[in-house]
Amino acid sequence: MIVADPKPFGQVKGYLENFERILIVGCGACTTVCLAGGEAEVRLLASGMRIAFGRDGQSKTILEDCVQRQCDVEFVLPVLSRVDNEKIDAVVTIACGVGVNFLADRLGKTPVFPGLNTTFYGAGMEPGLWAEMCAGCGECMTALTGGICPVARCSKHLLNGPCGGSEKGKCEVDPANIDCVWQLIYDRLKRLGRLDDLQNIIAPKDWRTAADGGVRRTIREHLYKLR
């Protein structure tokens, strides 16, 4: 899933100073799961804005919405209609950055502001804790590394083993919070009886499949040709 964190309240409030009718839109997918941008967070952010602007002596209309997914047209269409019909003059989305872009591409003259900082592709490790697991590089190489990704989980994206900053299983960049992924890979390959794999030199990665190759898109022909 995509993980995101709420932007500081004051920053989001700052975006909205000059607008009167504001719609805050949540997303029922990833940002709901990571407790940053679902229905509950929409209500919380909207109430906060009402209180904060009220204190400033400003009476703004803060409206709320939450759709199943902000990254699919069918779910976003009702939001677009609402912006038109209810004369909304600014939208705050607390979906990931995909939602922000997807709305901005479709919202004509109505500005859209991000309520979240989108951080990474990760997994829920324990209640309230998410960690980065994938970098979306477009050429998965985890078959070589016991299923554990050094591109996403090594602070230097090293492909040929741990640097000198690996100590007691931790990464020197932040020993309290970051495991040395190469220690994890080493331990896993050892358990799998594949330690010899680590002797292979992994060639420089072809980054064309990653964001470095330009903006990416995917086509499923069987569906796409039905247009």
Binding site: S155, K156, H157, L158, L159, N160, G161, P162, C163, G164, G165, S166, E167, K168, G169, E172, V173, D174, P175, C180, W182, Q183, Y186, D187, L198, Q199, I201, I202, A203, P204, K205, W207
Partner: protein
């Protein structure tokens, strides 16, 4: 080191090592600016004391004069540099371009490193590159040198000759992987190795035994890295804060045991003992003395160690 009779670079360091001498290198950190005079002073301090001096590449991710420029100034001054190059700040395009430039300016030794993460430096907000890791960089330079092609396969105009080095840290984890990593670096093209600073001599001996058991000492020259401790404070700091370095209590206590004014002397005494110890270890082909911002003691250290005059 596949064929000792054929010089890969013609550098002084290569000549010293291939002719069987015990090599001595040190470190010469470029200034945090364009202060050439400061660099020249450091160069004079080490002149004649070492076979080559490493020019660090924005070490600990603190911005300094480039190792290529500082290396070229050393070449001009008649002291041989080992140009360090990290992959943190340059992709394969910039790296290869810089290697051509360095060679054109007379640099004949280089040390291929991944580099410290920028979080430790003075621009922790910077974007890092790490398009290559140190092992891949070694292979890239070796391919330019031996096959005459850049990474994509295009031919290089005019050859380059470069003596290729890499780092090894016997003190980082997982320990059993450290010698495998060393072997990978050698297979990727390392002609010589400089190790991280050694304080835990027992662990270094164990590492060297593993390396020799794999025959790695016959495939590459291994220089033992040593850093003199200036004070008990520095010893404790390095032990606590520098990842992959452990300074045994015995050493910290020994320095702590002498008055503050004599701690630097004690640090140098310890270094000289360490030099004696590493010389006895099978497979050690030289020492790399990293006297951090202490170049003024290099002459005394090398003199007292019996390294002078250099071959």
């Amino acid at each position: 080191m596949s064929d000792k009779s054929v010089m890969k670079s013609g550098s002084n360091l290569e000549r010293v090592l291939t002719s069987g001498h015990f090599a001595v290198t040190c470190e010469c950190g470029p200034p945090k600016g364009a202060d050439v005079e400061h660099l020249q002073k450091k160069i004079e301090l080490i002149r004649g004391c070492v076979d080559a001096a490493n020019v660090t590449d924005n070490q600990t991710a603190v911005v300094r004069m480039s190792s290529i420029a500082a290396g070229a100034i050393m070449v001009r001054s008649g002291v041989e540099p080992v140009m360090q190059m990290v992959t943190r700040d340059r992709n394969r395009i910039a790296a290869q371009s810089d290697i051509f430039g360095a060679y054109a300016l007379g640099i004949r030794n280089m040390l291929c490193l991944t580099g410290d993460h920028q979080i430790f430096g003075n621009h922790p907000m910077a974007k890092n590159v790490f398009d290559l890791d140190s092992i891949q960089l070694l292979d890239v330079v070796r391919t330019i040198r031996d096959k005459g092609t850049v990474n994509c396969g295009d031919p290089v105009e005019g050859g380059i000759r470069m003596f290729l080095g890499a780092a090894a840290n016997p003190f980082a984890d997982p320990f059993e992987f450290r010698v495998i990593r060393l072997a990978k670096k050698i297979r990727a093209g390392a002609d010589f190795i400089q190790t991280q600073c050694i304080y835990d001599m027992g662990r270094f001996r164990e590492f060297m035994k593993m390396a020799c058991d794999m025959g790695l000492d016959g495939q590459c020259y291994i220089l033992a890295g040593l850093t003199p401790l200036k004070s008990a404070g520095m010893a404790a700091y390095m032990n606590k804060n520098v990842s992959g370095i452990s300074v045994p209590d015995e050493i910290i206590n020994r320095i702590r045991g002498v008055p503050k004014g004599n701690q630097a002397e004690e640090g140098i005494n310890i270094l000289l003992e360490q030099i004696g110890q590493v010389r006895e270890i099978r497979g050690v082909a030289g020492v790399h003395i990293m006297a951090i911002e202490w170049e003024e003691r290099i002459r005394e250290i090398t003199e007292r160690a019996g390294f002078l005059p250099r071959p």
